[in-house]
């Protein structure tokens, strides 16, 4: 039995934050428990917050607070002319963490990069099936189709060879699933017969080392003194798992934590006027939408879809459903993403014009279903309420709406069906800050019957997004994506509803915390006054 690390001489008889300040311990009241600590095995942001952000690095990283891709474990990279090869020069002298069962004997090198990807990719890799590896993100980003081979050129040079040009490739490598693990640790755990330790006692190169996890209660990290960048000013980082948002707020007020995510919208006003809380905010990298089934009459007619869009009072939705914590969406990508077309003119809210437009198309006595998600998401905190508001809006133009819902798994699966009856409320949170991650995935012809819930396949739109994916020049890509957004707006396969605003309450003594547009909570670079 030992009392360790965070327990210092100041331990007895002091309040937590008094002690925390002396030991520079930041307490983050997280919203849930991580599923594990190997980011490639999971898809939830809660798990990434606890694993990939504090413990690991990637070849390239998203600069905190932006979607810019900056060097990580790779010092530099270059793409071949044909866009089929990406060569990464690796950083030298990067140390892996150690724990009771493992002390690294070498620095990070190309073997770690190859191991980190091949375990997700190749079935003959000893780690492919460990911990029930399903590698959802690796598959979801089409990496198995995209990758031809990963070549170790030398100890500090790695080349990714692709089957086709893919402009978002580098951004993909900044995603959590592309975190770099230690091949040496993996070998050691395999030899010891405990390969699942990779997921339970993580070893990375990141700014914090993993100390302990008490399930559903606390995760503890200590600053990595050998970090390849400047060491974190914080000595300890503690995640106090607190599932209830009201309780997180009470803990912030009582000084039991310094930072909390996902406040209750109803508490925002009080937080804004609370001297003990700084309420940071940023527009989220997400979009909430209503997808019509464009393969079923009368929704196969763009004019009908446009007319319905004109009947939706989006401002009322922002007020009621988002309680003001969101902005009206006019494009299918959020304003924080490059290539967002500011010049797009949204369909004005005009029930009379909407009714007239419907009548002009010969649509009278229309009855339709609106599907409301049974779960809360940042892009739609209350789908049922949103659907009811739309029901009311549509009734004003003579459209009768039935609101339906299903269990979440059923909802996801049935909403993909080509002959689906009704328009579906859904949304998306960006993975890599690339417009392709929204436009091609959600609206491309390949996604019909899958992630393209509007079942919308438009030749012109598809051509533009495919071309944009294959050129490296960002200006050219921007131009193509703007054209694609114009096609989208004219065709209106969705009613774009809202982009939510992300609020982060932090205590005044916290310095340097930045709200990350990709949704992660990152504590490297944060300090306590």
């Amino acid at each position: 039995m030992k009392i360790t690390r965070t327990v210092t001489a100041a331990l007895l008889g002091a309040t937590l934050l008094a002690s925390a300040a002396s030991a520079k311990t930041l307490v983050y009241c997280s919203e849930g428990s991580p599923e594990g600590f190997d980011p490639a095995l999971y898809t939830s942001g809660t798990t990434f917050d606890a694993s990939s952000h504090p413990i690991y690095n990637r070849l390239v990283e998203f600069e905190t607070g932006t979607t810019n891709v900056v060097p990580g474990l790779a010092e530099s990279w270059e793409a071949s002319e044909d866009g089929l090869e990406y060569t990464f020069k690796l950083r030298q002298g990067v140390k892996f963490h150690s724990n009771d069962a493992f002390t690294p004997t070498r620095d990070f090198n190309a073997d770690d990069v190859i191991f980190s990807f091949e375990r997700q990719w190749k079935e003959d890799n000893a780690y492919n099936q460990v911990s029930g590896g399903t590698w959802e993100y690796f598959g979801g980003m089409s990496m198995p189709d995209l990758l031809k081979e990963i070549v170790k050129v030398d100890d500090y040079t790695v080349k990714f060879v692709l089957n086709r040009p893919e402009a978002p490739m580098v951004a993909n490598l900044a995603m959590d699933f592309a975190s770099i693990l230690s091949a040496e640790y993996a070998d050691a755990m395999l030899a010891a017969g405990t390969p699942e330790q990779l997921n339970q006692a993580p070893i990375g190169t990141g700014p914090f080392t993993f100390v302990a996890y008490q399930k559903d209660a606390v995760i503890r990290y200590a600053a990595n003194a050998d970090y390849w960048k400047e060491a974190s000013p914080l000595e300890n980082l503690v995640f106090a798992i607190t599932p209830d948002a009201s309780v997180r707020y009470q803990k912030m007020k009582a000084g039991e934590c310094h930072v909390m995510p996902y406040p209750n919208p109803a508490d925002l006003e009080a937080m804004g006027s609370d001297e003990d809380i700084n309420l940071l905010q940023q527009e989220g990298l997400n979009v909430g939408y209503l997808a019509y089934n464009t393969q079923v009459a009368p929704f196969d007619n763009p004019k009908v879809r446009k007319a319905l869009n004109m009947a939706i009072d989006k401002n009322a939705i922002i007020d009621v459903v988002f309680q003001g914590a969101g902005v009206v969406a006019k494009n299918p990508i959020p304003p924080t993403i490059w290539s967002y077309d500011e010049s797009t003119v949204d369909d004005a809210y005009d029930p009379d014009a909407a009714k007239a437009a419907l009548e002009a198309e010969g649509v009278t006595d229309l009855s339709m279903k609106i599907w409301a998600m049974p779960v809360q998401r940042p892009y739609n905190p209350n789908a049922r309420r949103m659907a009811e508001l739309m029901q009311e809006d549509f009734s004003k133009i003579g459209v009768n709406v039935e609101v339906v819902s299903y269990e979440w798994g059923e909802y996801l699966s049935r909403s993909k069906e080509l002959d689906r009856d009704g328009a579906v409320l859904l949304g998306w949170t960006g993975d890599n800050g690339d417009p392709d991650n929204f436009l091609a995935v959600l609206l491309g012809c390949d996604g019909v019957g899958k992630s393209n819930r509007a079942q919308w396949c438009n030749e012109e739109f598809d051509k533009l997004t495919i071309e944009a994916k294959q050129v490296a020049d960002v200006e050219k890509r921007t131009e193509l994506y703007k054209q694609a957004q114009a096609v989208f707006k004219a065709e209106a396969p969705w009613a774009t509803i809202a982009h939510s605003t992300v609020f982060m309450p932090v205590r005044p003594e916290v310095e340097g915390y930045k709200v990350h547009p990709l949704g992660g909570h990152i504590f490297y670079g944060v300090d306590l006054k």
Binding site: L11, L12, S19, T25, G36, G140, K215, A217, G409
Partner: protein
């Protein structure tokens, strides 16, 4: 007594098989596919879906899946969580001590306050104390736990700052689990000090104790109300019996009549209720655990149902059912001890 115990134990086997069958089929009857839930909005290709179905064994007939599951159970393998990829058995026993500790504290508080309150209400039937107590019990029983817990936190933790908001122990203290019971582990960790004049208590044990106060009160609220009401009505019934009148006529002191003659006989239905309450508490107090960030099995089970994490739901339900069966057996034994007639029958 041995025959009585053996006959009770024999009922374990069919109940156990019934529980495994029910938990196995119920989670599968619920709409929702764990693989689709796992993939979320991102979805997956049909090939990948088929591959994962095969990997999880969902492509096998249900009978064969059940057979595989039971074979594992009989060998002590409850399967591995789809989500955390950890053995269900390990996860359960990492969390169960927290639930057990909180449940025991809550039920103890409920018994210690509920039985005397019921007795006092019964002997003061119709008087102010009885009415006040029974009205409070009704309020306690009807209280929305979520609201009640937040109210307690805002008042005691926020306003008075007497108790911590949530968790099991202050984050300052960090020691290895020995028993999983925080009160015991924090005592073993050492570093506790107490002085009476002026009163000061410091160290991990007192931190753990202070963290237990609010969740114990909140979790005990409903059981306390139920036990008080049950004790009152059982006492009223017994106090009207002929043998009590005889005891009074014999001139026995009222306290002896109440606490020895009446209470012992009134205890049978109360113990039944306590047994049922303990069973419910052991299944996890979902709301209390969620609000107080208490790392127990209640929230773990509910999350698993939402995620359609079949092995956790099956295994968790089975282990909880075993615990409840053990509690029921204990209650049966207690009946036997209190009332020899039951033992003989």
């Amino acid at each position: 007594m041995l025959n009585f115990l053996l006959s009770r134990l024999m009922t374990f086997i069919p109940t156990f098989i019934g529980v495994t069958l029910i938990s196995f089929s119920f989670i599968r009857v619920l709409p929702g596919d764990p693989i689709i839930v796992m993939a979320g909005e991102r979805g997956m290709s049909d090939e990948r879906y088929a591959e994962l179905r095969a990997q999880f064994g969902f492509d096998q007939p249900l009978v064969s899946q059940y057979w595989d599951y039971m074979t594992g159970v009989l060998q002590g393998d409850l399967g591995t969580s789809f989500v955390t990829k950890k053995p269900v058995f390990d996860e359960f026993f990492a969390l169960f001590p927290a639930t057990l500790e909180l449940s025991l504290c809550a039920i103890t508080l409920a018994i210690l306050l509920g039985i005397p309150a019921g007795v006092i209400a019964a002997i003061n039937r119709g008087k102010f104390f009885d009415r006040a107590l029974m009205s409070s019990a009704l309020v306690g029983y009807s209280m929305p736990i979520f609201w009640w817990a937040l109210l307690m936190i805002i008042f005691f933790s926020g306003w008075l700052q007497w108790t911590p908001v949530s968790g099991r122990i202050s984050l300052m203290y960090f020691f290895d689990d020995v028993t999983g019971f925080m009160l015991i582990d924090s005592l073993l960790a050492g570093g506790n000090s107490i002085s009476l004049f002026p009163f000061e208590a410091d160290g991990p044990f007192f931190s753990a104790l202070s963290h237990l106060v609010l969740p114990t009160i909140v979790l005990a609220t409903i059981p306390l109300a139920v036990i008080a009401r049950q004790t009152r009505s059982a006492m009223l019934e017994v106090l009207g019996e002929d043998y009590i009148r005889t005891a009074r006529a014999k001139g026995l002191p009222p306290s002896r009549i109440t606490y020895v003659h009446a209470l012992r006989n009134a205890m049978i239905p109360v113990i039944t209720v306590i047994g049922l309450l303990v069973g419910t508490l052991l299944a996890g107090a979902i709301l209390t655990e969620t609000i107080f960030s208490w790392p127990g099995i209640g929230k773990w089970m509910v999350d698993s149902i939402y995620r359609r994490d079949y092995p956790v739901v099956q295994g968790g339900l089975m282990l909880i059912a075993v615990m409840v069966m053990v509690v029921n057996l204990t209650v049966d034994v207690l009946y036997g001890l209190i009332n020899p007639k039951i033992r003989k029958s």
